[in-house]
């Protein structure tokens, strides 16, 4: 005869309602974990997307994600000729806001050279860029569909393909256009500004042939550190391995956001622990007369402790389960990517179990202090 189960069954509606409240809290905790993971995953995705072994950037910078980097586009040919380099490609990165059907889309524009490394690896729908100008491949989170036309700068671009899970660390969906279009987008002046330039006798403003980075894919037997060291001999260039680039991103770009979310997660878990403790304490206080009766008729402490701890753990388990189901159902509706791994859910289950057992301590303490004499008399 399990007293905890019987008590829960007797007060099922109230228990379910309490679990529902707790599950909302658990869903928020899981959402925060998912957002935290999403932030890291997005940041790494954009670095991992070109599948590069080496990043060549402007000397003295940690570009192109941590800070601005600008190098001549001919650098790509020089890098491609280095011993151990299999292929190299130039890339530009910039964030733009583009009007689309009454809304403003914030997009992370990646310029790449079709046929060279740096473009989208897997197209989930449509095709990759085949024309030299005005075609665009977009992340599906942007809301754009194949065939849509969107104006970037002064030119309309036609969506020819979709990719998945390609966003920058700020959560802006990535779009791919040709390097040439990206350079024009980066430097082209508005018509009025162009006329001012001509009027000042400065001539038509020319697009600069600079890129943010050159990525290199190495031969299987090449040592990335050795190739990087060779690149660093050019004083105007710096070279980062893929591992370096990922570390820079995690340590400098997303670190503060990561810590902020981590702190918020800690506060949420503390709030959850306090809420669970209060619920269990209140549930116990409501049962003091019954607990006194149990003591009076001879129930040992382990029966009473079991009643409280089992209910506490059941509350946590049901709250966690409902919360998990809830977040799995709604996670795709979040504006930022929510990435939940099984290990996250399992870790939270472990934490909630510990919290529930610890939180039931208050209730257990109150129960063990109850004088059985209180069962006698009105």
């Amino acid at each position: 005869m399990n007293l905890a189960y019987r008590d829960v069954r007797h007060n099922l509606f109230r228990f379910v309602l309490t679990c529902l409240g707790l599950s909302l809290l658990m869903a928020v905790v899981l959402a925060m974990i998912g957002i935290y993971n999403g932030l890291v995953a997005d940041a790494l995705n954009i670095v991992k997307a070109p599948k590069a072994d080496l990043w060549v950037v402007e000397a003295g910078t940690q570009g192109p994600f941590a800070e601005a980097s600008s190098i001549p586009s001919e650098t790509r040919n020089a890098i491609a000729r280095l011993h151990g380099v299999a292929a190299a490609g130039s890339l530009t990165y910039q964030t733009v806001e583009a009007p689309f059907r009454g809304d403003t889309l914030r997009l992370y524009v990646i310029g790449y050279e079709p046929g060279y490394p740096g473009g989208p690896e897997i197209i989930s729908e449509g095709r990759s860029i085949e024309k030299s100008h005005f075609e665009i491949v977009v992340d599906d989170k942007s809301g754009l569909k194949v065939g849509d036309v969107i104006r970037l700068g002064r030119n309309p671009f036609t969506v020819v393909g979709l990719v998945k899970d390609t966003m920058n660390s700020g959560g802006d969906p990535a779009v791919f256009i040709t390097l040439r279009d990206a350079q024009v987008l980066q430097t082209q002046l508005a018509p009025a500004a162009q006329r001012v330039q001509v009027a000042r006798d400065q001539g038509v403003f020319k697009t600069q042939d600079n890129v943010a980075a050159v990525i290199a894919k190495l031969e299987p037997d090449a040592d990335p550190q050795a190739v990087a060291q060779t690149v660093r001999q050019w004083k105007h260039l710096s070279a980062l391995t893929q591992g370096d680039q990922e570390s820079i991103l995690l340590l400098s770009v997303v670190d503060r956001a990561k810590r902020q979310i981590g702190l918020f997660l800690g506060i949420l878990l503390t709030v959850s622990a306090v809420v669970i403790a209060l619920i269990i304490y209140t549930m116990t206080m409501e049962k003091l007369k019954q607990i006194a009766t149990l003591k009076l008729i001879g129930a040992p402490d382990r029966t009473i402790v079991g009643l409280i701890v089992q209910q506490s753990v059941a509350l946590g388990a049901v709250g966690w389960s409902f919360g998990l189901v809830l977040i799995l159902l709604v996670k795709d509706y979040f504006p930022r990517r929510v990435v939940l791994e099984p290990i996250n859910a399992a870790a939270l289950a472990g934490i909630i179990l510990v919290v529930c057992i610890a939180a039931s301590g208050l209730g257990v303490r109150a129960a063990l202090k109850v004088d059985p004499a209180t069962a006698i008399g009105g």
Partner: protein
Amino acid sequence: MTVDTRRVIVNVANVSKHYGEGDARVDALKSVDLSVHAGEVVALLGPSGSGKTTLLNIIGCIIDPSAGKVILDDELVYDDRWLRGDLRKLRLDKIGFIFQFHNLLPFLNAQDNVALVLKLAGKSSAEAQRRALELLDYLEVGHRKDAMPALLSGGEAQRVAIARALANSPRIILADEPTAALDSKRAGVVMDLLRKLAAEHDACIIAVTHDEKIYDRFDKVFHLRDGQLDRGEAM
């Protein structure tokens, strides 16, 4: 003068209880002696604060006396200190409690409320359920075995509570205002039942009551005044 040859089940000798010290000292019981025999049904009467509940709690091994001896069912259990480490086990083995408001656990049905005591005493689930049903049938509430306490009438709930008190066949039954929540007809029925149980189970029943309409159902009535117990009045 007749001598009661039945075995003494409860023997309280020279028991005192005080709360506080010095000027704040309150003597709840002053050198109380009480013997209750097998089959006997006795009442403890007295105004509020006279020490009735304190004496009941001491016999029930719930509170410590300040001095004296307590012998329950031939076992010396208190002699200036409790001689048993586990008083709850002692209560489980020897004492049954009946409360004013039945105190049935609201989340267990009638049968499980009775069976719980048997389970706590180590009986198997099947045996506990069988014995619980027997007791409920004996008290004529077997047909309500599946009912939750909230759905039982006052009389039914009190019968289930009596069944629970009897579950482990205790030799001592302590009752706190067992008929206070019942009308006079049902109070009489419950008292007759308790008398019958005491006789059949060779147990003694000690009840604290204010209910004058049931005084005649007791074998003996003891009056407590200012912590002192009189010699008892046979009814």
